[in-house]
């Protein structure tokens, strides 16, 4: 579904991604784990088009999207729930969700919104409130729900557990697992390596702009180097 080959990216003169190769197959949950500053967020921003790639190739559903501008990638089925939530703070919860389906004007929009409210009942309760007044966990739910309103075939999730209480983290990961059942392929970037690897099919470990290890999620969890470096075991 999503193939990345030799991806490089830079902020000014400083290169932060030094040639990333990565593959996500249809129906998988793939996770990219790594420490703060490893380049995980930059990688996702390159995939969604909000950060330019300086070299390499991104192929999505058989077509190169490397040069496709960010606002056209969702139309092809690639959605991102960005780091730090990035919701529209001064618009209402409902308006945020409606804008998530900006590309669509059919009846399925209402249906999708009902589904989003079923997935996160608290959002339904607060549908008319300004999104900026939601708690961190609720904002994260809104960011995910908004991305799903765009009817993606592949969802890029950036640090959905960041700054959340453990109970909420478990709830968010549960939702991510459910997405696979709905036929949405997920690329999940996480600092919470243990939680992410537990729900993922495969994983990549990123270190200072390179992929240092990859494999089945179960194998990575069992790997002594990973256990020591990322899982604190």
């Amino acid at each position: 579904m999503l193939t990345v080959e030799g991806l490089r990216s830079r902020y000014g003169r400083i290169e932060v991604l030094h040639g990333i190769d990565l593959q996500v197959n249809t129906g998988e949950i793939v996770t990219v784990v790594g420490a703060n500053g490893a380049g995980k967020t930059t990688l996702l921003r390159c995939l969604s088009g909000t950060q330019p790639a300086s070299d390499g190739r991104i192929t999505f559903r058989g077509e190169s999207i490397t040069a496709v501008p960010a606002h056209r990638r969702l139309k092809r089925g690639l959605a991102q729930s960005p780091e730090g939530r990035q919701i529209f703070t001064n618009l209402s919860v409902e308006e945020n969700l409606r804008l998530g389906a900006f590309l669509f004007k059919d009846e399925r929009v209402d249906q999708d919104m009902a589904e989003a409210f079923a997935m996160f009942p608290i959002l339904k309760e607060k549908r008319n409130l300004a999104a900026g007044g939601l708690s961190g966990g609720q904002q994260q739910m809104l960011a995910i729900a908004r991305a799903l309103m765009g009817r993606p075939s592949c969802l890029l999730l950036d640090e959905p557990s960041m700054g959340l209480a453990p109970l909420l983290v478990a709830q968010i990961f549960e939702v991510v697992t459910d997405l696979r059942g709905r036929g949405v392929t997920v690329l999940l970037v996480e600092q919470n390596a243990f939680g992410a690897l537990k729900i993922a099919d495969r994983g990549y470990v990123m270190e200072t702009g390179r992929i240092s290890m990859s494999g089945a999620a179960a194998e990575l969890i069992a790997d002594p180097r990973i256990r020591e470096a990322y899982l604190g075991l």
Binding site: H71, P82, Q86, L99, F102, G132, G133, L134, S135, G150
Partner: protein, 290 residues
């Protein structure tokens, strides 16, 4: 009593012009947080282009439409040539670019047109209407009606249409707007075109009353900006009420005190209001949790 009503009429007329300028500010501000100080120049262009196409023999309604379309094109060009290339610059730099653009447009208008005062005939004649002992020009009703029409249109646009919400979303978070599929460059182009068209519309309505020359834009931009700040920047309701209030304040001061003081009193009241309500009368206090 007659005098009071007379002052209210003239205040509403001037206020409606300020409101139209303020409404023009609202759109670009909502899309980009930029206060476009070339907004007054759009009013001037609307009046001047109508005058000169009318003098060339084009019927007045057609001349007005041509002026609005041409001014909208100038607005789009301002965005494409000056604002878009500076993307990523701080808002203050963009505001300074609009000040530069206003000087450029004023200079160009002086060369292309001339330095004289111009007018064209009022839409419904110049005979004043008598209302309870006071008089009002039919053209004043056109101006006030125009301001209300634009206000209602914008209000519906921002609250009822997905495109309007896309404009608000772009201002609130440009990256997130792109992620939901909004072409943010297109939103900016739309905003500048629409703002310029509204400014030109104001110029067309007001020229038969106040006349037009190449340099009327500066004063109008300042007053419109003051009206928008008074009402609360970014809110169409605030722009309408703020503009009308400012016009009424000026008319009352000119009538009961002296026209020498009308600007001073208006600005003192605005300062006092902003001191108590920094977001203006209808401004939203932004609530944000992180």
């Amino acid at each position: 009593m007659d005098a009071l009503l007379q002052f209210i009429f003239s205040g509403m007329t001037v206020g409606a012009v300020y409101a139209l300028v303020a409404l023009g500010f609202t759109i670009i501000y909502n899309a980009s947080d930029v206060v476009n100080f070339a907004q007054g120049e759009f009013v001037m262009l609307g009046g001047m282009i109508t005058v000169f196409t009318y003098m060339a023999g084009v019927p007045l309604p057609l001349a007005a439409v041509l002026a609005i379309v041409a001014t909208a094109a100038v607005g789009v060009a301002l965005n494409k040539l000056a604002i878009e290339p500076a993307r990523g610059a701080p808002v203050v730099s963009l505001i300074i670019i609009t000040i530069g653009a206003s000087i450029l447009i004023r200079g160009a208008a002086q060369l292309i047109f001339d330095k004289q005062l111009h007018r064209f005939p009022a839409f419904s004649g110049d005979a004043p209407l008598r209302v309870m002992g006071a008089t009002i020009l039919p053209q004043s009703l056109w101006v006030i009606g125009g301001a209300i029409l634009v206000f209602v249109g914008l209000w519906l646009f921002f609250t009822r249409t997905l495109t309007g919400k896309a404009v608000l979303a772009t201002a609130n978070n440009r990256v997130a707007a792109q992620l939901v599929g909004i072409n943010t460059n297109w939103v900016m182009t739309l905003s500048f075109g629409l703002s310029a068209a509204i400014g030109a519309f104001a110029g067309v309505l007001v020229t038969p009353i106040t006349l037009v020359s190449y340099d009327i834009g500066v004063g109008l931009a300042l007053k419109g900006f003051a009206g928008a700040m008074l009402g609360g920047m970014g809110n169409p309701k605030g722009a309408l009420v703020g503009g009308l209030l400012l016009g009424l304040l000026e008319a009352m001061t000119a009538g009961y005190l002296s026209s020498q003081y009308k600007d001073a009193v208006a600005f003192i009241v605005i300062l006092a209001v902003l001191f108590v309500m920094p977001h203006g009368l209808f401004g939203s206090k932004s609530v944000e949790r992180v």
